[in-house]
């Protein structure tokens, strides 16, 4: 077999978000031939965390997988592909995941915030990758598709500017309109 890469849409073998103890918060593996079960997946995650939590070096090869990663405070984000996969494609998926999560959590990329918005994060992961195929790599589009509940969230004076900027960046015209309304309303109050 030659070393040429397979012309396939199935580029992503797995996506994982771990906490700062290496525990799984969310993880999905798309190729059943890589890990035979949850036990192996967890073992791999532990191992992966061991090798990556100290050095913020962005890429590592482990167990025949190329893993690109990124971390913030107490969260670790991983995207996995085959050992000779084009890393730059994986990195674009990783950036999309991170930026989308960051947008959903309003730049507050921490475990607590992530767990509070777990439903939206799950939806975001589903929008980024479908069964191993990168579905969308633009973080704005992803957060737009899932961040549907923005208007429900309570505003307070410290975060209002940031939130509105967020909205301006990420939401469509209709929501933009409602954001303006809310801004007016909260300032009046």
């Amino acid at each position: 077999m030659s070393g040429l890469l397979e012309p396939t849409l199935y580029i992503i073998k797995g996506i994982a978000i771990l906490d700062n103890d290496g525990n799984r918060l969310l993880a999905k593996y798309y190729d059943p031939s890589i890990f035979s079960g949850v036990k192996e997946e967890r073992k791999f995650e532990k191992n992966l965390f061991q090798k990556t939590h100290r050095a913020n070096a962005e890429v590592i090869m482990l167990d025949r997988l190329t893993c690109v990663y990124r971390s913030n405070v107490d969260l670790f984000f991983y995207v996995m592909g085959m050992s000779y996969e084009n890393e730059l494609i994986l990195v674009s998926v990783l950036s999309c995941l991170y930026d989308a999560v960051s947008a959903i959590l309003r730049k507050n990329v921490e475990k607590r915030a992530l767990l509070d918005n777990l439903d939206l994060i799950m939806l975001a992961m589903d929008e980024i990758c479908d069964g191993g195929i990168p579905l969308e790599t633009d973080p704005q589009v992803v957060s737009q598709r899932v961040a549907l509940r923005m208007e429900e969230s309570p505003f307070n004076d410290q975060t209002v500017t940031q939130q509105v900027r967020q909205k301006l960046e990420t939401t469509t015209g209709v929501v933009l309109q409602s954001a303006r309304e809310q801004l007016k309303w909260s300032l009046l109050k």
């Binding site: 040429l4 012309p7 849409l9 997946e41 070096a57 590592i60 090869m61 767990l115 439903d119």
Partner: protein, 849 residues
């Protein structure tokens, strides 16, 4: 900031940090009852559904009943129009559809969402729907899928295309109906849609090479917008170039090269990687790709550096000179914070650098070897192996390094790589042997991997007895018998026997040790000990040789066939195993074909089939190749013929052969040979009694009746044909046709055992050969025997060499050949033949020259 962080940390320890921390399956499934409330309690339902999804994601498994119940409860939530909740339901459907039963029930709800107005519903509902429907149901949504594929909203189009790709795995015929829509989507403006459309289209046409070529030539001339689609296209193009043997299109490689200048790094890397990976790429094609990678080496992005250095390390294996240009940049990466990058940089430098830099590089490797993953440690070991073979003088340093690595932490593949590297060095350099064996002995003292321990013990059995002081290895081996599991013990017992068989002085002690092993708890170990003890105790050199040093080696499929044939024959004499000792099994296909022909059924087991020999030039009117099948007393010549003229039908095709001393006993013609359909005819020749005339040259002519026919239909125009013939090249029957390759694990012992009774010796000047390698290959091929003790490998720079060959002559005669070769104005050879039959020795000795 730090204070608040600590607070959170504390909360977590209380379990408060993770609201899902104490979630358990039973109670959550209880809570799922909330789904049934009317009107839907959006907030609580969302929370409970998230919990269920979280549990599934953590690896919790649901029983079919539990999953089905949860699934049905979930369908109630379609009543709510909350966006998030609805989307979570889609997720839930996808997660549960493989466990739950009757999931078809949601089809109509999903179809409604899929065809509705709300984009936020449409895309994800398509993806969920395609998970639960099978091919037959697809018919029903056929129209909607077609619309969705070309939908204006990119999300909807992508969702439909990705679903197409999933469906393709199960039922490609469904997706084939949508091909024109997919084609339309390919010209979409959206980056992802283009990528997905290309993926689906390629998958649809993959098996049709012409269609792929067309698709590629269309896309390479237009310019795709999506970098992802271009990466995919590059892979498709690379595959085409690699597979195309003859009709190679230079436009394709021009396309690859032009992509090196694309503005997206993703694409330039993909193109560079494809170019350097292509086998077709010569040293001339590489530089543009290498210089792209070289630029990446100094990128601030670790991933880019990693990608570049990994690809370069791959190139360094095949074209080290092409990478030398990057050496300076690679040197800078040795200190890279990313250990993977540093390791790859060093191993690449080891391949491209000079002998002088080895020590320095080794030092930097050992400083961080413990920080890197096993994968990379293996990469390092591989680099050391090629280095050791390249610079034999550095082997002492390398061996030390390898021994250190062997002692450190690591998994089986890593340890295996080290051990086999040490073994390679031992085999390559006799001076390093004892040192290497010592390291390996020390390693098995504390080795947790059974397979590896067995392999090393086996190696000790092969190499140990031939060292200056065999007794020192006995302790290591016997320790294994005391301490290890059954598989290792059994291997150790066999190895003890090998020492006993070869070292006269140790035999009494070995017998004592073997006697102790007879008390083992494991059957296999006891059996082996008893067996070897019994043989060694006889001190009968023939027995020892036959059953310990050179036990018969069989090719099992051939042995099985021969035994079956023996049982079916009325023969009364015992089965002759000697006939069946061979390295390569007989060609099963041939054996089956021939035994199916009644005229050949009585010939007995097939002894050997030659490789096909072409009897015509390439691209002539008729193509004929000959395969020689040797039996105990007969040779069958099989002629595979192909008629390449489309206006001729050949009938009663046969081959007429003529040679002195050879009489055709039976000739089986091929009744009809239409255009381009191969057919075979056979000739059966009894082998002459006189062993000296069993080789020879036969002239061959193809005879046939021609009937002209219509090229289009292949129907013959006439009822009557005319006879014609066609001269073929001669068929040579050589010594090799009578000899089967056999293995001897210990040639020297076999040589002694056979004795000088039937020895023949002669000296030859092989003036036509200019190197020892050439002589070794030629002699091995000519005699059709098997090189033993790795004597087919010649250490570099040597001017003399001894080749050991073993074989079985037709009739089951053992033949061993020792050829001493010396290089001086051509090759001089002293050939010594030993066998158990004087005539066989003579045939072999006279074959050369």
């Amino acid at each position: 900031m730090i204070g608040s962080f600590k607070q959170i940390k504390k909360d977590e320890e209380d379990g408060g940090g993770n609201p899902y921390h104490s979630t358990d399956k039973t109670s959550v499934l209880q809570e799922a009852r909330v789904f049934n409330e009317t009107p839907v309690n959006v907030k609580r339902s969302t929370h409970v559904l998230t919990k269920i999804l979280y549990l599934l994601n953590q690896g919790e498994t649901l029983a079919t009943k539990e999953a089905t119940d949860a699934f049905f409860a979930m369908t109630k939530l379609f009543q709510s129009n909350d966006l998030v909740l609805r989307r979570l339901v889609y997720l839930g459907i996808k997660e549960l559809c493989n466990i739950a039963e009757d999931t078809i029930i949601v089809t109509s709800s999903l179809t409604k969402d899929m065809t509705g107005r709300e984009d936020q519903y449409r895309a994800p509902s398509i993806r969920a729907l395609c998970r639960i429907t099978d091919a037959s149901m697809m018919q029903a949504i056929d129209r909607y899928m077609k619309q969705a594929i070309v939908d204006r909203a990119p999300g909807v189009s992508s969702a439909a295309l990705v679903s197409c790709r999933h469906i393709l795995k199960e039922s490609p015929e469904v997706v084939k109906r949508w091909v024109s829509e997919v084609q339309e989507a390919l010209s979409s403006d959206c980056v992802m849609v283009q990528f997905h459309a290309l993926g689906v289209l390629h998958q649809l046409r993959k098996s049709d090479k012409l269609a792929v070529t067309k698709l590629v030539s269309k896309l390479t001339s237009s310019s795709l917008r999506s970098p992802y689609a271009i990466c995919l296209l590059i892979r498709i193009v690379a595959r085409l170039i690699e597979e195309d043997e003859i009709g190679y299109d230079s436009r394709l490689s021009d396309f690859l090269e032009s992509m090196l200048r694309h503005k997206a790094e993703m694409v330039t890397y993909e193109a560079a990687n494809a170019i350097v990976t292509l086998k077709r790429s010569s040293a001339r094609d590489l530089p543009p790709a290498i210089s792209v990678l070289q630029l990446f080496l100094s990128s601030p992005k670790p991933t880019l550096r990693f990608a570049a250095v990994r690809t370069l390390s791959k190139v360094a294996m095949t074209h080290p000179n092409a990478v030398t240009a990057c050496n300076l940049d690679l040197e800078n990466l040795i200190q890279d914070v990313n250990r993977s990058i540093a390791t790859l940089a060093i191993t690449t430098l080891l391949k491209t650098g000079s002998e002088g830099s080895v020590d320095r590089l080794m030092k930097s490797i050992s400083s961080f070897l413990n920080d890197i993953s096993d994968e990379f440690k293996i990469v390092v070991v591989e680099a050391l192996r090629s280095l050791a073979l390249k610079y034999p003088r550095k082997q002492a340093v390398l061996m030390g390094q390898l021994a250190d690595m062997l002692r450190s932490e690591g998994g089986l593949p890593y340890k295996e790589a080290i051990a086999s590297t040490i073994i390679t060095i031992i085999e390559d350099n006799p001076e390093a042997k004892e040192k290497g064996l010592d390291h390996l002995c020390e390693f098995i003292e504390d080795c947790e991997h059974t397979t590896l321990a067995v392999r090393i013990i086996h190696l000790l059995g092969r190499e140990g007895p031939r060292t200056r002081q065999p007794s020192r290895y006995i302790r290591f081996v016997y320790n294994r018998v005391i301490l290890e599991n059954a598989a290792v013990r059994a291997a150790a017992v066999s190895v003890l026997a090998k020492f006993g068989a070869q070292c006269e002085g140790l035999l009494p002690n070995i017998l004592v040790l073997l006697q102790r092993c007879m008390m083992d708890t494991e059957d296999e170990v006891r059996d082996r000990a008893t067996y070897y003890h019994a043989i060694l105790a006889t001190r009968d050199s023939t027995l020892i040789h036959r059953y310990i040093l050179n036990p018969p080696q069989f090719a099992l499929p051939s042995l099985e066939r021969a035994l079956v044939q023996y049982l079916q024959s009325p023969a009364v004499e015992p089965f002759e195993t000697r006939m069946e000792e061979r390295v390569v099994p007989t060609h099963e296909k041939y054996a089956e074909q021939l035994s199916a022909i009644p005229q050949f059924a009585h010939l007995g087991p097939l002894f050997k089939s030659s490789t096909p020999v072409e009897l015509t030039e390439a691209e002539t009117e008729y193509m004929v190749r000959c395969i020689k099948h040797t039996f105990q007393n007969h040779i069958v010549l099989q002629f595979d013929c192909t008629n390449t003229l489309n206006d001729q039908l050949l009938e009663s095709v046969s081959v007429v052969v003529d040679g002195e001393g050879w009489v055709v006993q039976t000739s089986l013609p091929c009744a009809s040979l239409p255009y381009s359909q191969p057919g075979s005819c056979y000739i059966l020749l009894p082998i002459p009694e006189d062993i000296m005339s069993t080789t020879g040259t036969l002239s061959a002519t193809l005879k046939f009746t021609v009937r002209d026919c219509d090229p289009a239909t292949g129907e013959p125009d006439t009822d009557e044909g005319y006879e014609d013939d066609y001269t073929l090249e001669d068929v040579e029957i050589t010594v090799a046709d009578h000899v089967q390759r056999a293995a001897r694990s210990n040639f020297a012992a076999g040589w002694e055992e056979l004795g000088a009774t039937n020895e023949l010796e002669d000296t030859f000047a092989l003036s036509a050969m200019s190197t020892l390698e050439e002589a070794v290959t030629q002699i091995t091929q000519f005699l059709g025997m098997h090189p033993c003790d790795r004597s087919d490998r010649i250490p570099e720079g040597k001017s003399s060499h001894t080749l050991y060959l073993a074989g079985t002559y037709r009739g089951g005669h053992e033949v061993l050949v020792r050829a001493k070769l010396a290089l001086a104005d051509g090759v001089t050879m002293q050939l010594t033949v030993r066998s158990d039959d004087p005539e066989v020795s003579e045939v072999i000795a006279s074959a050369v020259g």
